[in-house]
Symmetry: C2
Amino acid sequence: MMQDRIRRTAARPPAAEAAIPMIAQCPHAAEPGLCEQCKVRSVSVCAALGPDELAELERLAEAAIFAKDEAVVAAGEPASSVYNLTAGSVRLLRLLPDGRRQIVGFLLPGDFVGLSLAERHAFSAEAIEPVRACRFARTAFSSLVDAKPHLLRRLHEAATHELSIAQDHMVLLGRRSAEEKVAAFLVGLRDRLVRLGGSAVTIPLAMTRQDIADYLGLTIETVSRTISRMGRDRVLLVVPDGIRIIDAPRLETLAAS
Amino acid sequence: MMQDRIRRTAARPPAAEAAIPMIAQCPHAAEPGLCEQCKVRSVSVCAALGPDELAELERLAEAAIFAKDEAVVAAGEPASSVYNLTAGSVRLLRLLPDGRRQIVGFLLPGDFVGLSLAERHAFSAEAIEPVRACRFARTAFSSLVDAKPHLLRRLHEAATHELSIAQDHMVLLGRRSAEEKVAAFLVGLRDRLVRLGGSAVTIPLAMTRQDIADYLGLTIETVSRTISRMGRDRVLLVVPDGIRIIDAPRLETLAAS
DNA sequence: CGTCAGCTTGACTCATCTCAACTAGGGTGG
DNA sequence: CCACCCTAGTTGAGATGAGTCAAGCTGACG
């Protein structure tokens, strides 16, 4: 999925702070059955649904596009919509009052924004690169979930999976060195991308060094130095907009999970 | 709830590593309707159930008791049971292969162990002090959940709430100083205990300094020094088996969430 | 009364942060 | 087309918060 990401250099200047997300012509409305062909369906919560239900879901869906750095949802705001990502990647983050930033996760195609179905989002979500998503009105989606227990069950599975990943990340943040953090980040991202059909060797990094630092609880300088050192040590190669893994076993040992 | 915790000094020597949890005489079997009188019902997932359903749940329940330091569930092991805590507290933890330890959460009465209903637990759970809990066979509980969508919904709410707390904790681990970490821990614990009917001033600390350190991503020495300094600064008072908050506003400012 | 676990304290070390300069690439406007 | 600028990233030098290592304290228990 990352291979089809729009070049960052092609992005238009970021929209103003309060920009309203553009609503694309909804492909679902125009051409029924699109959900069935959806590339990320099998890895999404939608996988819980049968053909009839899928059609029902499709009627609730609306395609949304977000530009790089545009907010998908904002922490504390009423959650009018929930989303299923179909292309691009998103950072989930929390801010401290003084501006310190912690990225609590990166979302890739197939991931869901708004798992809790709660009235307010607990985090902000921002497009790291141009993003496509299926948008659902939260209340409508919630009603559908109430009518389809197996969809709720799937949502619950997704939420507890997220929780497990969050716990892994706590171990990383609390108990790992900078080098281990960077290695674990790269290995983890690689594995997710491979599952989505990507390369096991070349890892496109849509996020900035600052994003990585805020994800790993480090400073940008430490991330940069650590990646540089891994380059010097022939563990990886820094390439434009990403890295290439040279010595996977060594990287995996460092990630030592 | 903490006020009724059994004195640690009264605990018998810890059971052997592989000790089988003692099964108390099940009070539910002996005296129907106990769920109705359960003190933690309103804060538990059980709150989703009506009287009839509660009786149904009660038939699945069995009282379990765990001694201090006894394992409630072990990471990676098949999850034969799930639990609802009724007294005492539990640490949830993950270990790195080399023995580094990260506590990913503390559970108090009303909290649920095994929210995911998955076949294996992703974490270990250990009694910090003598613990009482309702035990349910996982498969039976899972079937009940499948039959009661509103119970599943409640479980899902609990899971997403946990996820939100986990994200808060990531901010703490990744972006806060030792002093902020300790302050946030104390304030957070106090707030939970208050919700369970405890004091807003005296905080019993059933967990050891090492537990706190492993929760906050610090060393035991740093936790000890930080608490000592707060004592010197008249922010709190160290009392046997806990602390007493002297200057709540100052502590809350440090916790600065 | 001795031992032991839990905790505290001190002295010193070091991984990471901070501050600062510098590089590279792309976009823009003259 | 070039000069400039701006953002992202890199690198170095020095500061520091938290870790490490090592005593010592205290209260509970045998």
